[in-house]
Symmetry: C2
Subunit: 343 residues, 2 copies
């Protein structure tokens, strides 16, 4: 985020965009469901793979769906509240991990290689963390909107799936503050060990979330205003990417707690805004499952992962490729000369 | 299974083999665990992927583990009890689906392509089904042992993972009979809808299992004798493949209910015999979860699949590749210059 995109966008532009989200392509989705029942397998025997193929068709707006060009986008940001000791790692690790992504040494690099996916890492002013939200809003409106616009750039013509993730020391505390403000409940309900803090660390996280709510919650406003006050740059960028993907007919895969908490801002604005989004996995961070329940999203798998950096989302790509490949490549009963179920 | 392997094997040969199973390579497994903790991620943050990397190292007997050459083996057999109307499909579908595998039109073909895996399909005398076990043993001892030896041929030098599956109209009823004889409980406890039979079909399946137990259960003998009386050729072949893989240091991925029921014969002979086996998924066939509880196996994922033909096992390959790739390809904290957790 080194230069301002032209023309500069505002949060009101984003509010307008939310009024114009395209709906599902029911024609493509129906075509997928009809084909599914002609393929050489008992009806429904591929279980969730069949749902995934129909979901891809519905939100790509094409049948059969295709998955030759998946992209993984990781947004990195720094947080003023990191100074309160809410992470097991120093804030410098955000930039160090971005360097590790560039050098190919992180988990997400290996996962993208296995999935044959394009990896893009977006740095959001790492030298300039958000303001400490325990004393006021985390972001100026202009900076929040600019980060959203920057996130929109992750969507380019031709990509067929967008997996989203993040890197940012302190950002599970930010996620907890957002969830608490958006959906209520105590701070402790939304706080967890993150990268691995101990009980003292969890108490510090709870105190920071409570202070953030006290400093910001009285202000009127919608979920985007909550984002501005309690969120962060990578959260804003993820939201922008989700919106841009919807406009461009690109289905989205969300990663763990932080990524889903960003998406939750859009859900609060309009529950239909996440219909083109799949949650890859259930994170080991306990609040993730709570948030998924609120969002009514069923994750694909649960491997006890809690790394972020789009690692869970990237791992979903081969599963989605499998769903698309079965859907497109399998023979029908007629084509294969296989006898059908006796009724 | 067109020619007898030389020299012909007996079930006693298999019993002897079971006495000689190699144990885990703890040196390779320990090396994996130690490396895991140096990689650029919070300790344990890759969750089950870390366990999988250590499991691969332990049973490949090498560190780091490798997964460039995975194989998927599907065994097809026919069953005398199919004549009792225990499936939603006619018995001819077994051979028709084998032709579909050869033509590349089945689900497993697409899944192997996505996983870049080698697919081998083994037919076991499809023109000569096993005997109807409601009136006596399903197999002669010689045929049972021959099918096991045939299954052993699925393991060749150089393969680094073996995914097992099956095709055989009627074989969920065979699986239920085996589980019932091996682990007790009512026939209804182990019978389910399979390819999609209705309540009448389930009643027929229960009756066939009960008749099979009545005709065979009184005979003395071990689990291999139970296999001979109530099993089938593809079950025997899967057992042979599991044993051969253990001898050759090839980790095994099991598919759904039928495949796991075959493996359960070995578990009954020696619970350690399945230590090199991972169960890919929990099938939608309700008895699969019951069987997994008995075998103390935690499946990797649950997508509500119930297709067989190694489809679930093949879908696990990209996940295992991801585990191996993260383990081998990630930088350590020192290599990447990333700060470690503050203690």
């Amino acid at each position: 985020m080194t230069s301002k995109p032209q023309p500069a966008v505002t949060l009101d532009d984003m509010r307008q965009l939310l009024q114009q989200l395209p709906g599902p392509d029911l024609e493509s989705g129906t075509a997928a469901v009809l084909r599914q029942d002609r393929l050489t397998k008992p009806r429904g025997a591929l279980g969730r793979l069949e749902e995934l193929a129909a979901w891809l068709a519905t939100w790509q707006g094409r049948h059969p769906p295709e998955l030759r060009r998946p992209r993984v986008a990781v947004f990195a940001g720094n947080h003023g509240i990191a100074a309160h000791g809410v992470s097991a790692y120093p804030a410098a690790v955000t930039a160090q991990m971005v360097a590790n992504f560039a050098a190919g040494g992180a988990a997400v690099n290996q996962l993208c290689q296995v999935a044959d996916a394009d990896l893009r890492v977006f740095e959001l002013d790492l030298e300039r963390p958000t303001a400490d939200f325990t004393v006021g809003p985390a972001m100026a409106e202009e900076d929040c909107a600019r980060a959203m616009a920057y996130g929109m750039m992750a969507v380019e013509s031709g990509i067929q799936l967008l997996c989203l993730g993040e890197m940012g020391i302190g950002n599970t505390t930010v996620a907890a503050a957002l969830c608490c403000a958006l959906f209520g409940g105590s701070a402790g309900h939304w706080v967890g060990p993150g990268t691995g803090v101990d009980q003292d660390g969890i108490r510090r996280k709870v105190a920071v979330v409570e202070a953030g709510l006290a400093a910001n919650a009285k202000a009127p406003g919608d979920a985007l205003e909550t984002l501005r006050r309690l969120g962060g740059y990578e959260f804003s960028a993820i939201i922008g990417a989700i919106l841009a993907a919807r406009m461009a007919k690109v289905p989205v895969v969300l990663d763990g707690y932080v990524c889903t908490a960003a998406a939750a801002v859009l859900f609060k604005m309009d529950p239909r805004a996440l219909d083109h989004c799949l949650v890859a996995h259930c994170s080991a961070e306990p609040a993730h499952q709570r948030l998924l329940t609120v969002l009514r999203k069923e994750p694909l798998f649960d491997f006890g992962m809690r790394l972020g950096e789009a690692s869970g989302a990237a791992l979903a790509i081969p599963i989605l490729k499998a769903a698309a490949a079965c859907h497109s490549g399998m023979a029908t009963f007629d084509q294969a000369g296989v006898s059908e179920k006796s009724e």
